[in-house]
């Protein structure tokens, strides 16, 4: 272990880059340090040592050229009056206090910036700048130069900020305000002698309570009515229906008592109920703001492309791209639409589409699918499909409106509430009819009492608090779930489908063996030195697989794209590359990644490079196969069949050579057979399957980087814990059921009074909060306790 880099904290290796006696791991880091040093911003490194971000790839200087296009720039700006502009940029790498400090001191770097404000949870920065002094492009390039590269994509352009969270907070505020005040008015009635309160006070407190209840009933609680109504329209009785019934019965009963100057009825219980329900909603909704689960192709694709017409180059918005256009794709740029290669050396990295990180060479005239990334020099393409009609985008965009059943439909809470509502109505009507015969004056009262006391506040709070806590437990353990419904679906899974490349294999690390003659240590070091001159992923793999470090003389170095590299190292000619390049014979196994090696005047053998499996894969599979049927889908050939067969039990659970479409229809078929399917994937080629499955999980090395639309994102380091996550979701369901039972017991006590026509406001005022508090405490504490036991 050498010294850590001052900027990013990574190991500098044996040859650190030095500047001003400080050590850096690379020139990129050192440059950022110099920029900050020049503007006297070294405090960045004091707030949080080694806070910097290391960029793996250099950004080409044309990357942000599209920001000069006024149409695009205008869409990005949230405010502009010709001089002063405001822009909101999403920077996924914001991670610590130093980031906040530096990004809010941008004005020291450039005087054109007047103000910048970071929103940490959503990882954005709002920048006010004068575009006469600094253009949007220069601003973004300045951020990139200090390694805070903003992510600008189509989806972000189209989407405007939403403030649904603010509305909920206001609703909670209003109901809390009314709750406190009405409790104050109600309190005298609960004291001994409270019934002797004069009619002046009773009337006054009644009117005040009524006024305070109005905004709560008609504003704060309106989401419940809407949801109940929507449910009824689809012939579903959801939990919001008994809530709505309860709220209105409470309100009407209390209004009647206020008008007849009997007291203020149940207004305090009513408002308290709404207040608790809204808090439950808020607790459940506090999820991962910076993570996006709903991405479509738009958030992956660039905002603009470079159009070539004649010898002129021009940046146009992606939406204007049409069939027949000739476009220029530079190094590390993404191919936005299916196209044909016209000129240049294409090496397409489909790592996001297929999970395969080794670039695929393409010949002139060949078709290139959208979604790949060019690595190497610039290429020219002719577009043959529009963006929306490209192969992968189409798959991704298929209308899933009817494909996936509404996930809330079969949920446990709705099943319970269906029976619950019917039973409560039946009890209420029976009690009403009974009293009609014995004491007609009590009939209506008994009926409303039943509806009031049975209002399923505790029942409705169970799910938000149990699953809300579960989501937090999962989040701490590196497993991020979209919403609480996904947890419930997860617990019901009986079939699990894995993608192979990138999901159960590792993207970066490779399994490398040398097949052939025994090479001496010095020869290996020479090979390593040669390979270190190339940035091709295979060269990097070879370089990393050889231990040691030694510098040699190198001459006559050349890199022939999609063939190999060659050079004279210490007077030894070494060739590394494809079989054709090194041996001259045609490649007989095109699907394997073998790098042949020519050294000491002969072909010494080849490096066989295969994907290595995720650590712990075997135990995960063994654990999961106890209770689930496992399948493996792979877009690759079946060369790994013999390794994977025993793991999955039988070869019939393995499917190779699956196109993205095949994967999707396979899942569809399983779902059609009544299976509850979990799909675990990682890339764009799994997007269709992820959408089709009951629960789609994405494995990501960096959770903020792009991932296809899914129900959950799991950090790749946490893959081994997948079985624990499963076990825990089942446990959460059990906690929900226990909480249901508790709230039913309270309801029974309440019903005992209600059917006798004995329910008084004080019983309601005691029973309702107590049942809610018990359920909430039970749910949160048991989840916490279990999390400790599961070591999550």
């Amino acid at each position: 272990m050498g010294t850590p880099c001052i900027h990013c904290g990574e190991d500098c290796g044996s040859q650190p880059v030095l500047w001003n006696e400080k050590t850096f791991c690379c020139h990129g880091c050192s440059t950022v340090y110099q920029i900050l040093n020049k503007s006297q911003l070294e405090k960045y490194y004091e707030i949080q040592p080694m806070a910097g971000i290391k960029l793996e790839k250099t950004i080409n200087n044309q990357k942000f050229a599209f920001l000069d296009n006024e149409e695009i720039a205008e869409k990005l700006l949230t405010f502009s009056d010709g001089g002063i502009c405001v822009v909101r940029l999403y920077i996924p790498t914001i991670h610590c206090a130093s980031c906040i400090w530096l990004l809010e001191n941008l004005h020291t770097l450039h005087s054109g910036v007047s103000q910048s404000l970071v929103n940490f949870p959503v990882k954005t920065v709002n920048i006010t700048f004068n575009n006469r002094e600094i253009t949007l492009r220069q601003l973004v390039e300045m951020l990139a130069s200090i390694h805070y590269v903003p992510e600008i994509n189509l989806a972000k352009l189209d989407k405007k900020e939403t403030h649904s969270n603010r509305t909920l907070l206001i609703k909670i505020g209003i109901s809390g305000f009314s709750f406190m005040n009405v409790m104050l008015y109600k309190f005298p009635e609960y004291l001994p002698g409270g019934d002797q309160l004069g009619s002046l006070f009773t009337g006054f407190f009644g009117v005040m309570s009524f006024i305070l209840a109005l905004p709560v009933v008609f504003y704060s609680a309106n989401d419940y009515y809407l949801s109940a109504f929507k449910g009824l329209k689809h012939k579903i009785i959801n939990i919001d229906l008994p809530i709505t019934l309860g709220i209105f019965t409470l309100f009407l009963q209390s209004t009647y008592e206020i008008v007849t100057v009997q007291g203020i009825g149940y207004m305090d219980s009513l408002i308290g109920l709404v207040f608790f329900l809204l808090i439950g909603k808020w607790y459940q909704g506090k999820t991962y703001q910076a993570l996006s689960f709903e991405r479509d192709y738009k958030s992956y694709f660039p905002v603009a492309v470079t159009l070539v017409s004649g010898s002129a180059e021009q940046s146009i918005p992606l939406s204007k791209l049409e069939k027949g256009h000739r476009i220029l794709i530079r190094n590390q740029e993404l191919i936005p639409a299916d196209a044909i290669l016209l000129s240049g050396v294409a090496n397409i990295d489909y790592s996001f589409v297929t999970g395969e990180s080794i670039p695929v060479p393409k010949k002139i005239g060949e078709m290139i699918y959208a979604g790949g990334r060019q690595s190497g020099s610039s290429i020219e393409l002719e577009v043959i499909h529009q963006v929306e009609q490209s192969y992968l985008t189409q798959l991704w965009n298929q209308d899933k409106g009817f494909g996936k059943p509404d996930s809330s439909l079969g949920s446990i809470i709705n099943k319970v509430s269906e029976y619950f509502t019917i039973i409560i109505l039946a009890i209420g009507i029976t009690a009403g009819i009974y009293w009609l015969f014995y004491n007609p004056s009590l009939a209506l009262y008994a009926f409303t009492s039943v509806l009031i006391i049975a209002c399923p506040c505790a029942l409705a709070l169970t799910v938000p608090f149990t699953f809300g806590s579960t989501m937090r437990v999962f989040g701490r353990a590196g497993f991020y779930i979209k919403n609480t419904e996904a947890i419930e679906n997860l617990s019901k899974i009986d079939t699990i489908v894995f993608d192979k490349t990138g999901t159960i294999t590792l993207n970066k690390s490779m399994d490398i063996r040398f097949v052939g003659d025994n090479l001496s240590g010095e020869d290996l070091l020479k090979i390593k030195f040669l390979a270190s001159h190339s940035s091709h992923p295979l060269s990097t793999c070879i370089k990393e697989s050889i231990a040691g470090d030694q510098r040699f003389e190198i001459s006559d170095y050349q890199e022939i794209p999609s063939m190999g590299i060659s050079g004279v190292v210490n007077e030894t000619r070494i060739n590394l590359g494809s079989k054709k390049f090194v041996t001259g014979k045609a490649d007989d196994a095109p699907n394997t990644s073998n790098v042949y090696c020519f050294i000491n005047h002969s072909v010494a053998g080849y490096f066989s490079i295969a994907n290595s499996y995720r650590p712990g894969l075997e135990s995960v599979i063994r654990e999961l196969s106890k209770n689930h049927v496992l399948y493996l889908l792979s877009g690759d050939n079946d060369s790994e069949k013999n390794n994977l067969g025993p793991l999955f039990g039988n070869n019939e659970y393995l499917r190779f050579n699956q196109s993205p479409q095949d994967k999707m229809s396979f899942i569809e078929q399983l779902i059609g057979n009544g299976k509850k399917v979990l799909m675990v994937g990682d890339g764009l080629n799994d997007a269709g399957a992820l959408m089709e499955s009951s629960v789609g999980l994405t494995i990501a090395d960096d959770i903020y980087s792009f991932s296809p639309a899914c129900d959950g994102i799991i950090e790749s380091k946490q893959f081994e814990r997948l079985p624990s996550f499963f076990g825990f979701s089942k446990l959460a369901i059990r906690v929900v059921i226990l909480s249901f039972i508790i709230s039913f017991l309270y309801n029974l006590v309440g019903l005992y009074f209600a059917v006798q026509g004995l329910l008084s406001p004080i019983i309601a005022a005691i029973l309702m909060p107590i049942s809610s508090v018990t359920v909430v405490t039970f749910a949160t504490f048991s989840i916490r306790l279990m999390a400790k036991r599961y070591k999550l």
Partner: protein, 72 residues
């Protein structure tokens, strides 16, 4: 005893003032980011240009500014 009515009205007005304050704060976006202000308050103004243009610095006590990584 009727003074209680007056007190109740005053109580509502005072509490209503706080409610309006809360609604204003929410609409103003003060609840959008509950994290960064807690960090921001710990930063010193390392450089201040006063009216005469003289740069004054107070970069002492930077130790206090080191924020534990566990908070993230």
């Amino acid at each position: 005893m009727t003074v209680i009515i007056l007190l109740a009205v005053i109580g509502i007005i005072v509490a209503g003032g706080f409610l309006l304050g809360f609604i204003w704060a929410v609409r103003n976006g003060q609840y959008d980011d509950m994290y960064s202000p807690s960090v921001r308050i710990l930063f010193d103004d390392s450089k201040k240009k006063d009216s005469t243009g003289i740069v004054t610095s107070d970069t002492e006590n930077t130790e206090e500014n080191k924020i534990d990584q566990n908070h993230f």
